[in-house]
């Protein structure tokens, strides 16, 4: 594993309606749809390593499920 995430997300999966707009919008291509469904029966996005915290998913999401964080850079390089 050589990827290192500069950011991460909090995903409110139960608000998701499974439109998949975030999957295409993600520049590092680290979101995929789940195999299981949420409480309303929709598949939802799952995050893999490599998030940059760019907020593209949050910008396009109609259901407002993404909270975006960027890791503080004052510490040793993440992923090492």
């Amino acid at each position: 594993m050589t990827m290192s995430a500069r950011g991460t997300l909090v995903i409110d999966i139960d608000k998701c309606k499974g439109c998949e707009l975030c999957i295409a919008a993600c520049p590092p291509d680290v979101l995929t749809m789940s195999a299981t469904v949420n409480e309303t029966g929709y598949r939802y996005p799952e995050l893999h390593d490599g998030c940059t915290g760019c907020t593209a998913c949050q910008l396009v999401c109609p259901d407002h499920v993404f909270e975006v964080y960027r890791f503080d850079r004052s510490r040793a390089k993440p992923g090492t």
């Binding site: 909090v10 995903i11 109609p62 909270e67 960027r70």
Partner: protein, 272 residues
Amino acid sequence: MTTQNIEIVPTGAPPQRPATKVADASPSLMLGEHSLCPGCGEPVALRILLETLQELDIVQRSIGVVGHGCYGSFVRIMDIDVLQCLHGRAPSCATGIKRMRPDTAVFTMQGDGDMVNEGLQEVIHTAARGENVTAILLNNGVFGDTGGQQTATTVLGQRTKTSIDGRDAEQHGHPIPIADIIARMDGVGYVARGAVGTAGGVLRTKKMIRTAFEAQLAGEGFSLVEILTMCPTGWFVTAPQGPDYLAESMEQVYPLGDLHPRGSAAPHGAGR
């Protein structure tokens, strides 16, 4: 996607490592969840509108005037003073509010069916009077709320419930490019057209909304931001196909960008 077998990052709670939140899920002015279809562009437009009001610090003096459409359900969840008026009449009601309360920031939220079909004359007369209000047009080319019928902005060839073989100019007439028409009028302070199909498009559209409110606050006259939004349900496409369909059909007919930048005179220059 090749990362299918790679471990999933936990996203149920904020990260344990020191991190800074750079984006909230929804603005604090939104009080709950909306009930619109998966892949709809209107909630995205609502979010950037509310964020803009907060960033300009005009929430306390903002008054929204909302027409009829799917977005009408937003009045229940937006923490802003709102008047919901008859179909297409939002610009006229906004005129009355602004004239009585010139210190307020008044905006309308209307769909294409509301503004261009039901209330075409209200918006044109409001623009011609140079009323100092901001109109937000959510254009998806269908009457989404009533089941997906063709509107005046449906592009040629687009399939809707009432033009199932595609809009045909001979039978259904041509689409009305309302923002382009209003951009040519005197009394107008700012007109632009954005789209919310891509992340970059959302950011550019947000800047347009901000510019429109700045024009209103500076007393420059009528401002209009047309926002092309996805309606996968009304377009007979899947939700992930919405942005591509938007780019291939509507954006070809309704080009994006500033149509009447701030400070510019109308093309024919009369009265300026």
